[in-house]
Symmetry: C2
Subunit: 149 residues, 2 copies
């Protein structure tokens, strides 16, 4: 299975929660409770997301975090990038010249770029506002195969 870290998965859930009312500041306790996650974990997540610029932090006794931008303007891709770094399936498609020993001879390099591009587009096309939409589409019924690829 193609994988994103569990932390990233959590991160998206957290962002989705915040997207429910973008104006308010939410503190870590509240988010942790809402997301059914442990406080230290959520704390770490929020910190990272704030450092990346997706959230704005407010310190002090009535502090917390709020979305730095309207939820329509934050894509799933951005959240993933914040928590996992550049999006790409293979090391060589990221920005790491020389990492792959036989980079010049590798016959599939160019093509990976295309594939990654498609994936990035898919991820870019979904905003967290959409994820937060009140009615998640029914799990079945859209004719997708449930399990296999």
């Amino acid at each position: 299975m193609i994988r994103i870290g569990r932390l990233t998965d959590y991160g998206i859930i957290v962002m989705t929660h915040l997207a429910h009312d973008p104006g308010r500041v939410h503190n870590a306790h509240e988010v942790a409770r809402a997301a059914h996650l442990k406080l230290p974990t959520v704390s770490k997540l929020l910190r990272i997301l704030a450092r990346t610029g997706l959230l704005t932090s407010h310190r002090g006794i009535n502090g917390g975090y709020s979305l730095a931008r309207p939820p329509q303007a934050i894509s799933v891709a951005e959240v993933i990038r914040a928590l996992e770094g550049p999006i790409g399936l293979t090391a060589c498609t990221i920005d790491s010249p020389g990492e792959c020993e036989f980079e010049p001879t590798c016959p599939v390099r160019g093509h990976w770029q295309k594939i990654n591009r498609a994936i990035r587009d898919a991820l870019d096309g979904v905003s967290i506002a959409q994820l937060a939409a009140p009615a998640p589409p029914a799990v079945a019924g859209d004719g997708l195969a449930r399990v296999g690829v």
Copy 2:
């Protein structure tokens, strides 16, 4: 970074190599040499790919492996699925009911399906014949950002 295993990466390179002349049988040594990979690793890969039905194995002294189908009919997604199992970004989008403790309350589940769908489509749309195409598109020039998402 969203990740596929290194083995899977190798697997795609191997399949691409085989796709160069689909008729012939290639033995493990030859493939290993061509792909710049160690023999035991390639051996393992070929075995898995054969077991999954993507390759046909020929035993005996002049044996080896050949593509089970024409390369146009084998998608990248199939290779990934053979080596990694079902394609999905998160555990809950695979077929594992109950794995996620708060599955019923999870607000983003339905949406993930859509995202995964998009990724699967992207992967399904590329055949290994395309990967084996003689002229990999130049790395730059298609306006893609090189690194960031």
